[in-house]
């Protein structure tokens, strides 16, 4: 029986994976534009608070570490699904989503702190560029956490066998991409003030 959507591909690459890489390519330009704008407007604010007064590097270093570790957990989760090890898949999917949620909690705390110090979207150019850039990144992490949670529920119901590894792999691609974007943001926004 021939299946239109599943017959062999011209490159041998799964269609889903190729499509998703293309999407990531597109996302690179999206975050590239956001980051470039942040860089262009660096030092352009005419009123405070300014970045050096408010950015908390030690705290963000911890949350960066948390996000990096979630990528590690993602690798183990994928390995678990590929090997059909349901327990490993469940533990590490939960770990990935949990670390992602922890990162978001750090971000929520950071945003509230900034708000209390008088920095909002509309305070100055720093506020506008900072909140939009990190906010869009946070929104991406949120989507990732929801996605991982759905995968975890599927694994819990026994609907995530080795045959579904591609689903987890694609989620992993997304998760690692979001992580890499954060490394760029952390370096350019926090470390290189």
């Amino acid at each position: 029986m021939e299946h239109a959507a599943t017959h062999e591909t011209a490159t041998g690459l799964p269609t889903w994976k190729l499509g998703f890489w293309t999407f990531i390519g597109s996302e690179t330009l999206f975050f590239g534009s956001l980051i470039s704008t942040y860089m262009v407007y660096k030092g352009a604010s005419v009123v405070g608070p300014y970045p050096h007064e408010i950015l908390n590097i030690p705290l963000t270093t911890i949350s960066t570490f948390v996000l990096l570790m979630s990528s590690f957990a993602m690798v183990l989760a994928l390995a678990g699904v590929q090997q059909g090890n349901r327990k490993q898949a469940l533990i590490w999917l939960a770990m990935t989503a949990g670390l992602g949620a922890t990162f978001l909690a750090f971000q929520a705390y950071e945003f509230t702190e900034f708000y209390r110090h008088g920095l909002t979207l509309s305070t100055n150019l720093f506020g506008s560029t900072f909140f939009i850039l990190t906010g869009f990144h946070g929104a991406h992490v949120t989507v990732g956490v929801i996605w991982l949670t759905i995968l975890w529920v599927m694994a819990l119901r026994g609907r995530l066998g080795p045959g579904d590894a591609l689903k987890v792999e694609v989620a992993g691609l997304y998760w690692h991409f979001v992580d890499v974007v954060w490394i760029a943001i952390f370096t350019l926004v926090y470390l290189l003030q």
Binding site: G19, T22, E27, T37, Y41, S45, V46
Partner: protein, 604 residues
Amino acid sequence: MATAETTALRTAPAHRSGLWSWITTVDHKRIGILYGATSLFFLLVGGLEALLIRLQLAVPDNDLIGPELYNQLFTMHGTTMVFLVGMPIAVAFFNYIVPLQIGARDVAFPRLNALSYWIFLFGALLMNSSFLFGAAPNAGWFGYAPLTGEQYSPGLNIDFWVLGLQVLGVASIMGGINFITTIINLRAPGMRLMRMPLFTWMALVVSFLLITALPVFAVALFFLTFDRFWGTKFFVTSAGGDPILWQHLFWLFGHPEVYILILPAFGIISDVLPAFTRKPLFGYAIMVYSGILIGFIGWGVWAHHMFATGLGPVADAFFAAATMIIAIPTGVKIFNWLATMWGGSLRFDTPMLFCIALVGMFTIGGISGVHHATAPANLQQTDTYYVVAHFHYVLVGGLIMGVFAGLYFWLPKVTGRMLDERLGKLHFWLTVIGVNLTFFPMHFAGLLGMPRRIFTYSSELNLGSINMVITIGGIITAIATMIFVYNLWRSLRHGAPAGDNPWNAHTLEWATTSPPPEYNFGRIPEIRSREPMWDHPEEMIAAAQHVPEKPIHMPSPSYWPIFTAFGITLTAALFLTKIWWTPLLGLLWTAVGVVNWAFEPLER
């Protein structure tokens, strides 16, 4: 998740007719038809807007249309023609033709394809619904900030513009992803990259431009949206915001967009010309490379739209030189089309006539493009009708001619019926006369100092007679387009049966029946050359029209794409209420759609 209705749909045999079958279709051919019909409709809308503009400008000191409505008309004319006609009509051709040309049964992501279409339709309706509020966008199709900021454009006009375009952009990015994956991954055995028809190649280049250019525009639109709705400072000069940033981001998208619009037309005529010259395309490989080069360099020329902002001599020199370099691969294409025709046994059917018109008229537009690229001359020409003449020569003389060539060429495959040749030739000649009468005098009007985007002009400028000629040209073009619409209607009713390959063309889509079956190819053919229908026609036809012994499983119809598309558009539309929580309703709707979609089985 699955309601009783979806279960019924999954088990029922494929419904091939009726409104519901169109709403739930995931067949690339039907989605192509939907894209085509919608964009032809908006061609008429955008054309009507143009006609109103021309009636206003026909005589000096005219007060037929006031300045407010005039601003809305030229903004919506530009926005409509670029986003609701030029881009989607190319996608209509991509949808219908590309899978047939590469020997695929459908696109890589059929439901995503349907989602793209519905988002496009709803986004177009959202944008145009602004007319109902008397608040159509009114700041030009490139929406320069800070003019488009809250301070200078307080009404709903620009809100409709930013939200509508944001929605339309989503559709384009998803379309780009779909076609890159389709073209790279779903080629028939033996359909190597360098055997693909030029149209498919240009679709691939355009798809790369879509996925790279549109996100930049999305970011620019987000900045402007946040400025307008939540008081961010991106384009607020008093807070240190730089108005040039909008121009950079806009044209970083906007110039690749120019090639998004024109490369499909280049692809179309590269596949049409050989059929009417009985010769393979001259210099196939160099045509592919020059198309890729145009797309690539197209990313490095955006600031030639910004010479007047005073970028400085170094930047001016760089962007002037880069822009002129694009003339080289473009010139290569022009000469290769000429060389394809040289010494061929030419047949002048309507598709061929439109191809020839494209080659001639695009060249005129290309030459005035080089004039603009010359930075000092640009300062003289910018914001005059010389610019209007230029881009209408490339977009009407290029894109629209290519589209009509493609429609006369491929519609017989789509409908199984020919368009009338006599009406076609009448349509062609009236179009060529009307278009040239409209846009050629604009060069003179521009050089004589007629500014763009001003609702009237003084009789002392002595531009009355030129403008009257231009308006008459516009009316002739409108009559020509009506003849096309009549021809289309007539063909659907009484058109002569087309047969499978009425033009004796060389590419794979002509191996199937007209119209093709839902599964396109009974057996996927094995491709052995660039001109399969000239080199091994019997073999290709035998494979394509092979009657399958067992039913071929195609992706099931689904209503989740239209459901999700509605949610996405609703989210954007609810921002117009300026009540902060209302867009959450749209997001919730979208989430329901996405989750149901994710758990719906792909095949019945």
